[in-house]
């Protein structure tokens, strides 16, 4: 594992007092209670915490899918809180890759076409073939989602997310629906992409073991950050005890 601390780190995300409240009055749910955070460029960051602790909410706000109720969130120099809907869409189109627990592939498009769906609109995409090679899915590119296993579908979803050469890759429970061997393979792919493309990766997960592959681990509880730890030695996904 390379050591990034030798280079001065640039910041991908910076938040100040980030707050998210769902609902009003007595029914109000405080998903985030003033989160201050800095995510350096090129790191793998794993967010851990129990359900409802706010980690997914943070991911959604940073990914431009949701808006904060209060506070500020910066992507590089741009304030996400001040962007129009259209600007957020363009932000997602050009910079953000998403991977969800449920793969959300277009059932009517083949693996290759699902990736092309992104490369057709992105600013600076890679070849769809290359993205599929990155996830080790060179041969089954002309299959439809219905003809693939869960692990294969998730790899297509990752290929689709990375094909645009994203600045950041968000993974929300990427291995949640997979068995351990497949899960490990998927994490491997994510690790490779971080290393080869230099994309900042943020992973939300329940699986605490995943933290071992991260540069930085953020623990969430009750809508706030409890602790941030930096891994001095990272473990390869292959060695993670599941």
């Amino acid at each position: 594992m390379s050591d990034r601390k030798t280079q001065p780190p640039r910041t991908t995300f910076r938040t100040r007092g980030l707050t998210k409240v769902y609902g009003e009055g007595a029914a109000a749910v405080h998903a985030l209670r003033g989160v201050d955070l800095e995510v350096p460029e090129g790191e793998i960051v794993v967010l851990l915490g129990p359900s409802g602790s706010g980690k997914s909410t943070l991911l959604n706000i940073l990914g431009g899918l949701d808006r904060a109720s209060d506070g500020e969130a910066f992507f590089q120099d741009q304030n996400l809180s001040e962007m129009s809907d259209r600007a957020l869409t363009m932000y997602r189109r050009d910079h953000v890759g998403f991977v969800f627990q449920f793969y959300n592939l277009m059932p009517s498009l083949t693996a290759f076409e699902n990736v092309e769906l992104v490369t057709e609109i992105a600013e600076n995409p890679m070849e769809a073939d290359r993205a599929l090679q990155l996830v080790g899915l060179g041969e089954r590119v002309n299959h439809f989602p219905a003809q693939m296993s869960g692990g294969e579908q998730q790899r297509v979803a990752i290929a689709r997310a990375v094909a645009k050469n994203p600045t950041v890759l968000f993974c929300d429970e990427p291995t949640g629906a997979l068995d351990s061997a497949t899960g490990r393979a998927v994490l491997h792919v994510i690790n490779d992409i971080n290393r080869e493309l230099g994309a900042t990766v943020m992973i939300v997960t329940h699986a605490a073991a995943t933290a071992q592959m991260a540069h930085r681990v953020i623990h969430f509880a009750d809508g706030a950050i409890r602790s941030v730890t930096e891994n001095d030695t990272r473990v390869s996904p292959d060695e993670i005890a599941w």
């Binding site: 997914s56 959604n60 990914g63 899918l65 949701d66 259209r86 869409t89 363009m90 932000y91 997602r92 189109r93 050009d94 953000v96 998403f98 969800f100 627990q101 449920f102 959300n104 592939l105 277009m106 059932p107 009517s108 498009l109 083949t110 076409e113 699902n114 092309e116 769906l117 992104v118 057709e120 609109i121 992105a122 299959h143 439809f144 989602p145 219905a146 003809q147 579908q153 689709r160 645009k164 929300d172 629906a177």
Partner: protein
């Protein structure tokens, strides 16, 4: 309540919008069915009751002059229940402030008793008192049209002598639900009056003391009318019998029958289309629900519920929606039927209304809706049975596109991914796309057919009053006049051109087929009232032979070159055997034409005319009409524009109203299907749309994928809608065509243009509504939940 039933109620509440929309479609279908059949059976019931209560005759036998004693002979005919003799004749009524005299029929009322047959319903006032010769009953529709009231004085010309009468009663009669002046085609309340006088007064006026000129007969229940007609004709022949005819050929009754026939045609064609659409929608919604609830179904099955119980659960949902719709439709149908029957009661001058719900319409409405639901539900059963608990509880496999994928692979070089998604979805669900296409096409076809028929009506008016009849004013005489009368007319103020005609009542026969109408003799090179062929070119009158209107030729089952037998009902009443020389194109009436000289020759009455068509200087109407009032031989004057207006009114009212209603309703279903299709495809693809949005597709780009499918559906539906509409327009035109008018069919671009535009508008509005929902989609929630 069982837990599963509670789930049912909550599910219904959850999909209340969609369930409501489907229930409304079912309801509209049932409502139309119940309303139309209720209205039709009410009208028929009311007519039957009215006819029976006021003893309308089954047979009418006009005669020149028959002695009273003949009534006894008529009563002896087997099958005859009652006989009444009366005096009837033509008159001209002067209405203050009207420049045209109005034609009238005057009828005798027995002085000492109520009539045995053809009694009147006295809505105001009283009958003429015994011995009074100056008191009249006036037909209510005419009194209404001219604001005449009890006590008003009417001036009328009877048999050449002018007299004044006081209105003592306003009456309605089953014999005059529609009033049409003799020789005219179109009923018009304002332009034809009916007056009843004491018999003695009328006998004196028409010089028929101790005689009658019309016999009315009622038949015993179940008696056959044909032999009675023959017997009556042979009894009255020597007294100048003009041919007895049955109630079904009586003018007013025939109009009402044709109107009811038109309503029936509509009631048969439209509701099934609604039910088909409802079944289709139910099928889509419920099968979508089942796939969305596969996990729950798996769970319920895992608990130990049987396939049958689970199926029954979803079945109940479908049937509840259908039954709710049917119940709503039945209630609404009764309400609407009552309201409409009331309208029709006024329109057809019925004095009362017997409202009768047709119970079979309830049964068939409910049955059809449940059947529609069952058709939708069967697919649900199949899906439920196919799911095993273990499979159901695993996350759903993505829909399999591998089959349709191969088809579009060929298009790879031309299409981007979003277009490919649209195309593959269409190819994957051809059945559903087909259903939506057919539904929209049916709605469009229905509305364009109704509109085609409406513009067909305008053709009837334009052809009849623009091409065939190019006169301004038509005059008829009381009896045939020497042809020099035409020259006298030419000297009246404002008259530019006069063209005489000779029209005689006649029964035309071909074997067992017969038609009671008239034969019109036209002058050579007629210009003002012509016979024309299909290309609107003049048909020259042959020296011998007869020209028949197409409708008449069809009725008689006869063509050019065949021979037709004509029983002339006037003069020495010859029976002519004539060769059909040509077939004329007419859209109104069923006329027959001959050369005027040939007709007069056949009648042995050379140089006689019975009326004339005139072209008149527009500024001279008042002077001309006041001059015509002083010509004693003139029985009636018709301004062409009045006739045209009356025809237009007739077409727009009555059964015509239903055409507008149907066109409107067709528009509503079209919109319903378009919108529902868009909604359903949105429901199915919301997850894909959210994914696209997350990937950075704009709302517009995401909407393209959703609305692309709708666009394809609409584009496919448009040409099919045109074809369906074209076919349906023939059926609707046939349903509404009567022997009064024939609606021409043909391709009418304007009707399809309007209907097509309406479909496109519906698609645009639906697209806009659904696009707004795309904007509201909660991206995160959609993507993080399992389907």
């Amino acid at each position: 309540m069982r837990a599963l039933d509670r789930k049912l109620l909550r599910d219904m509440w959850r999909i209340k919008g969609q369930a409501g929309a489907i229930a409304v479609v079912v309801a509209v279908g049932v409502l139309l069915q119940v309303m139309m059949s209720g209205m039709i059976s009410s009208l028929e019931e009311t007519r039957a009751t009215y006819y029976e209560r006021y003893r309308l005759a089954d047979v009418f036998a006009p005669v020149t002059r028959a002695p009273q004693k003949m009534l006894t002979r008529l009563a002896e005919i087997p099958g005859v229940a009652a006989v009444e003799g009366r005096v009837q004749g033509g008159a001209l009524v002067d209405i203050v402030g009207q420049d045209l005299p109005v034609r009238a029929q005057v009828l005798s009322l027995p002085e000492w008793r109520n009539p045995w047959l053809n009694d009147v319903y006295l809505s105001e006032g009283q009958r003429p008192r015994i011995g009074r010769t100056d008191e009249v009953l006036l037909l209510r529709s005419f009194a209404r049209a001219h604001d005449l009231a009890l006590g008003d004085v009417l001036s009328a010309t009877l048999y050449g002598s002018k007299r004044t009468f006081r209105i003592v009663g306003i009456a309605q009669s089953p014999e005059f639900l529609f009033t049409t002046a003799p020789g005219e085609l179109v009923p018009d309340d304002a332009r034809f009056a009916v007056l009843w006088l004491n018999a003695e007064a009328l006998e004196a006026a028409f010089d028929l003391k101790g005689a009658f000129n019309e016999a009315l007969l009622s038949l015993e229940r179940g008696a056959d009318v044909a032999p009675v007609l023959t017997a009556v004709d042979s009894l009255l022949d020597r007294y100048g019998g003009l041919g007895a005819y049955a109630l079904e050929d009586q003018v007013s009754n025939r109009f009402l029958s044709e109107e009811i026939k038109g309503l029936k045609a509509t009631s048969k064609a439209v509701p099934p289309i609604f039910m088909g659409v409802a079944a289709f929608l139910l099928y889509i919604v419920v099968s979508r629900m089942v796939s969305a609830e596969r996990e729950q179904i798996g769970l319920i099955k895992a608990f130990g519920y049987t396939d049958t119980e689970v199926s029954l659960h979803y079945f109940k949902l479908v049937v509840s929606i259908a039954l709710a719709g049917a119940a709503l439709g039945c209630l609404g149908g009764v309400w609407a039927g009552r309201a409409l029957a009331g309208l029709y009661q006024a329109l057809y001058h019925l004095p009362f209304l017997v409202f009768r719900v047709d119970p079979s319409s309830f049964a068939s409405g409910v049955l059809i809706s449940v059947l529609a639901a069952v058709v939708g539900g069967v697919s649900v059963l199949r899906q439920v049975f196919a799911l095993t608990p273990a499979v159901a509880m695993r996350p759903p496999a993505p829909a399999d596109y591998s089959k349709s994928g191969a088809l579009t692979a060929a298009l790879k070089t031309w299409l981007d991914q979003p277009s490919r998604m649209v195309l593959r979805r269409v190819l994957r669900n051809p059945g559903r796309i087909f259903g939506a296409v057919i539904g929209i096409a049916a709605g469009m076809g229905l509305s364009s057919a109704q509109m085609s028929v409406m513009s067909g009506f305008n053709d009837v008016l334009d052809t009849t009053y623009g091409v065939i009849d190019r006169s301004d004013v038509a005059v008829t005489f009381f009896e045939q006049m020497p042809d020099k009368t035409a020259f006298d007319l030419a000297h009246l103020p404002g008259v530019i051109e006069v063209e005489p005609i000779r029209a005689v009542g006649a029964v035309l026969r071909n074997g067992t087929e017969s038609y009671r109408g008239s034969v019109t003799g036209l002058v050579e090179n007629a210009r003002l009232n012509r016979a024309v062929d299909a290309d609107h070119a003049d048909i020259a009158m042959p020296d011998n032979g007869i020209v028949l209107a197409k409708s008449l030729a069809d009725t008689l089952g006869i063509g050019a070159g065949d021979t037709v037998s004509v029983d002339v009902l006037e003069g020495r009443r010859p029976v002519l055997e004539l060769r059909v020389a040509r077939i004329a194109e007419t859209l109104m009436g069923a006329p027959a034409f001959m050369h005027i000289e040939a007709l007069n020759r056949a009648l042995g009455e050379p140089g006689r005319i019975s009326g004339a068509y005139m072209r008149v200087d527009a500024g001279a109407y008042p002077a001309l009409f006041s001059a015509l009032k002083d010509v004693p031989s003139v029985a009636g004057v018709t301004r062409k524009n009045d006739a045209r207006a009356a025809m237009k009114k007739l077409m727009d009212e009555g059964a015509g109203t239903m055409r507008y209603v149907m066109a409107l309703i067709a528009g509503v279903i079209t919109f319903g299907i378009v919108y529902n299709s868009a909604r359903i495809s949105f429901g199915e693809q919301s997850r894909d749309l959210a994914s696209l949005r997350v990937m950075g597709f704009t709302q517009g780009e995401a909407a393209f994928i959703l609305l692309g499918e709708l666009a394809i559906v609409v584009l496919l539906a448009l040409p099919i809608g045109v074809l369906l509409g074209y076919g349906l327009s023939y059926l609707v035109a046939a349903g509404f065509s009567t022997d009064l008018y024939q609606i021409p069919t043909g391709f009418r671009p304007e009707a399809f243009g309007v209907a097509g535009t309406a479909v496109v508008m519906a698609a645009l509005i639906s697209g806009w509504l659904v696009k707004r929902e795309i904007e509201r989609v909660d991206l995160v929630a959609t993507l993080k939940t399992r389907e």
